[in-house]
């Protein structure tokens, strides 16, 4: 039941994008069309879960025993960067189709606050291994859900009479705010 609440909590209540403000650049940059937005969402779920597993292991079995916790920022970003490289190479070798659909999003993910943020939050919240996996996957799923809805709404905004000055990113940000307001509806659901 606790894990269930963790899932609900991280997808809806504390949505990584709309409540924690992580991963906003890709959220605004890759949400003009539904297709790429789905690609980005899937890529984030995949990479974020993997990255969390690696960084969690590195932190608990390398940094913590050595008393090097303060280096986690440095080490995590290197782990993520390396991981993304490997994943890219691996996917390219294994599946052309997957690479074509996900490949272009992978490099973007290196500098995605969401991935790094989830890795750091795992440590901050002191999750054990299972909790960590559940939290990472569902937080990233929250990202995917948000960007999916957002992209479908933005597609409509392109064919709406938005005032010229508000067109593009400006109205997208306002809409993201409204979406974040809507997600407040889930507040307290896990209590």
């Amino acid at each position: 039941m606790d894990l269930f609440l963790l899932v609900i909590g991280s997808i809806f209540v504390n949505n990584i994008l709309l409540a924690q403000y992580l991963g906003n650049c890709p959220f605004c940059g890759v949400s003009k069309k539904l297709g790429p937005a789905i690609g980005m969402g899937v890529a984030v779920i995949f990479v974020s879960t993997l990255a969390s597993i690696f960084t969690w292991i590195v932190y608990h079995y390398l940094l913590e025993p050595q008393g090097l916790e303060y280096l986690k920022t440095l080490v995590f970003i290197l782990v993520i960067a390396a991981l993304v490289q490997f994943v890219e190479i691996f996917i390219k070798k294994q599946s052309k189709g997957l690479y074509d659909s996900l490949g272009i999003f992978l490099p973007l993910i290196t500098t995605n606050c969401a991935v790094m943020g989830i890795a750091l939050l795992n440590i901050k919240h002191g999750f054990d291994f299972v909790e960590m996996i559940v939290f990472s996957a569902s937080s990233a799923a929250g990202f995917a859900l948000a960007i999916l809805l957002f992209a479908s709404v933005r597609e409509r905004l392109f064919i709406s009479s938005v005032p010229v000055a508000m067109r593009g990113t400006a109205i997208a940000l306002v809409t993201a705010g409204v979406m974040s307001l809507a997600f407040m509806g889930f507040a307290g659901m896990t209590n």
Binding site: F158, I159, S160, S161
Partner: protein, 426 residues
């Protein structure tokens, strides 16, 4: 308008047919006619006469590469050859004839002027010589020197016994007033194409009478009174199982669709009478009882309306065809051709102008569309230059019924937007 009409919901005021008198008024030929050398599909006709020529009624004055003919509808002198905007806004050549009393062409002469030997004339030859569309023509096909057997097989024939447009009654009245000829024509049709299933679509109000009169000659199918149930592409699709968009032909599915009028024209043609007359319903949005008249092709709509004392004022809209799919005319000189069965005058007071208001996403257009297009999205894509995006919604399937624009509370020119999506593709 009854008190209940006020309560009628927006969007439910579906166009329903106007009532009309049960007679067809025969008009005398006018003093001058203007005969457009046109077909839909922009098939080219060459004029066979020059200014100054004397022509007799029924004389061929135009010929297409496909071996079809157009006839003079009165005897007289060719005053002028000119080009004009025909009713559907095609630019076509036209022949102006001023009436005199030369006797009309009759008998074998009719065939000979088309280089057809009266002795060996096939049934297709007879129809061609009379300028009649035959149900077995495939678009773009050369009709000369073939007979029925050479065409792709026809499995079903749908005969339109009721007009699609709510303001037009000509087909209905032809069924009523020329019942025996229609019966005879149906018999002939069954002889010519024995394997075909013949369907006769009639208005619901007429269903009982029609079954009595025609049930042994054709399957009588009643159509609902409201426009939605009378859209040709819709009911033909429903009855025959062949659903095609506007720009595809039924013929590829073995289906032929003709009107009662065309059926009667065929009958006349086989009897040696060329097709030079046309039945049209005149109607107006105000103060005018619709009347159906029969007159020669080439009569200008100005003459036509004047003959029934239907006054057109500045700012009115004169529509060739019906109000749902017809074409507005900019002049009363436009002549009647074989393709329009009605003239409707929309008085200035009743005109609702197209606007550039925002689509409010009420979805009425989309729910009204008989072919299930996402009309509101196509309209928005066109409005905001997203033509590639618009293709995802299959605008080519539009059958131009006009219902989307009819129901739009923002009065957006939706049909035009859908057509733009088609024409500005990629």
């Amino acid at each position: 308008m009854s008190i209940l009409d006020v309560l009628k919901p927006p969007g439910s005021r579906v166009p329903v047919p106007v009532g009309c008198a049960l007679e067809i008024v025969d008009l005398p030929a006018p003093d001058q006619v203007l005969i457009p050398l046109e077909y839909p599909g922009q098939i080219l006709f060459r004029p066979l006469v020059q200014a100054g020529d004397e022509v007799a009624c029924n004389q061929v004055i135009g010929r297409s590469e496909h071996g079809n003919f157009i006839h003079a509808s009165i005897s007289g002198k060719v005053v002028e050859l000119k080009t004009m905007w025909a009713a559907r806004s095609f630019h076509v050549p036209a022949v102006v004839i001023e009436k005199n009393d030369t006797p009309p062409l009759v008998g074998d002469e009719l065939l000979r002027q088309c280089d057809i030997d009266p002795q060996s004339a096939t049934r297709v030859d007879l129809l061609r010589a009379a300028g009649v569309v035959s149900p077995w023509t495939t678009p773009g096909h050369n009709d000369s020197e073939v007979d029925i057997e050479d065409y792709p097989e026809i499995i079903q024939i749908v005969i339109k016994g009721v007009n699609q447009e709510p303001t037009i009654c000509s087909f209905r009245l032809l069924l009523r007033t020329r019942t025996e000829e229609v019966q005879e024509a149906l018999r002939r049709l069954a002889e010519i194409i024995p394997q075909a299933r013949i369907l006769l679509a009639v208005s619901k109000a007429e269903a009982e009478w029609a079954s009595e009169s025609f049930s042994d000659l054709a399957e009588v199918v009643p159509l609902s009174n409201d426009f939605r149930g009378r859209i040709e592409r819709q009911y033909v699709g429903r009855l025959t199982g062949i659903k095609v968009p506007n720009n595809a032909s039924y013929r590829s599915g073995g289906v032929a669709v003709i009107s009662v009028e065309q059926l009667l024209d065929m009958y006349d043609a086989l009897e040696g009478r060329p097709c030079i007359r046309k039945t049209v319903t005149l109607s107006s949005s105000r103060d005018f009882q619709p009347v159906t008249v029969r007159t020669v092709v080439g009569t200008s709509i100005g003459d036509l309306l004047a003959s029934q004392n239907l006054v057109v004022e500045d700012g009115d809209r004169v529509i060739m065809g019906g109000p749902m799919t017809g074409t507005a005319q900019f002049t009363l000189e436009t002549p009647l051709s074989k393709f329009q069965a009605g003239v409707h005058v929309l008085k200035a007071k009743d005109i609702v102008a197209d606007t550039n208001l925002i689509c409010v996403n009420c979805g009425r257009c989309t729910r009204a569309c008989p072919v299930n297009l996402q009309v509101h999205l196509i309209g928005r894509c066109v409005e905001f230059d997203q033509f590639d995006e618009a293709q995802l919604y299959h605008p080519t399937a539009c059958i131009e019924c006009g219902l989307c624009a009819f129901v739009c509370p923002a009065h957006r020119p939706l049909l035009q937007m859908v057509k733009m999506a088609v024409n500005f593709r990629g």
